[in-house]
Assembly symmetry: C2
Homo-oligomer: 151 residues x 2
DNA sequence: TATTGTTATACTCTATAACTATA
DNA sequence: TATAGTTATAGAGTATAACAATA
């Protein structure tokens, strides 16, 4: 029963069920987490994408929408309605960039800063619930392993 | 600077960027993995869901579609077209269950078994590419951590 | 020529409600 | 009353192409 360098052999491959694929594990976990996040914010005007967009604007005041898209892996076309909504809710404001008339600099309003703070607190509760079975070291391990995959 | 039981404090919460949320890390990894999976099977009639459905049928010959949905977390309505396609491609066959006329027992055809074997080999290549930066121990750690989240 | 913000559009995935036939 | 398979449909998320304004 010869094993190759990666450690598989033919019979193991044949017997490998879907749960044996790491990608499946990541997917199932992601779905559970996303659903709990959405449920956590059910009565608030917050979706995973708008939460992450607001968070990036908070981290980098004056950031452009194109830059947010590069950071978060979004399409430029798909962030338009997200920003429109955040602006209409009074959480985000835009100013022209004198140095480059194409870009709009984005900032959180005072209400946006307050809202994001409360959203983050709620998101932390959500994370503590979802990752309750992982202690602090395990959460750090998971974080480190996941960053190796996508970053 | 008082810390609560969970180990956060107000200033840490304020400074926590989106990358500090584990759920975000899981999501980004999941997207990268799904996209690579889809690209890996671009010229084949295989999607993540149809791959997992075929795999479950292979593991449990005679399984019903409702049971597959419970195992994979799908809606019954959404598996119909998946099974139709797998059947039209000649990879799945259905037989009535004499003991319960409501259910259809599902099996892979010989062509389905062959196809699934090649799909799994291809999926393993995909996984070895995606998880290249994780050694065997790290992959086992990741698997163990993810199972704690969703199962 | 490249980039920003935008519009329009299409496609996939997922969720819900309702129906039938069976149990 | 509950379940299996199905249909129809709606919604969210994401992708592509094109455009005007600007660099």
């Amino acid at each position: 029963m010869a094993h190759d360098q990666a450690g598989e052999c033919v019979d193991e491959l044949r017997a490998l069920s879907i749960e044996g694929f790491l990608g499946y594990q990541v997917r199932r976990a992601s779905v559970v987490i996303m659903n709990d996040f959405i449920e956590t914010f059910a009565e608030l005007p917050v979706r995973p994408v708008s939460f992450s967009v607001a968070s990036v604007i908070d981290d980098r005041p004056g950031v452009s929408s194109a830059e947010i898209c590069r950071i978060l892996g979004l399409q430029r076309a798909n962030i338009v309605s997200v920003l429109e909504k955040l602006q209409s809710e009074g959480f985000v404001r835009r100013t022209e960039a004198p140095s480059d008339m194409r870009v709009q600099r984005l900032y959180l309003t005072e209400a946006g800063v307050d809202a994001l703070r409360s959203w983050k607190a709620r998101a932390m509760e959500h994370e503590n619930r979802i990752f309750a079975r992982l202690d602090r070291d395990e959460r750090k391990q998971l974080d480190s392993l996941l960053r190796k995959i996508w970053s």
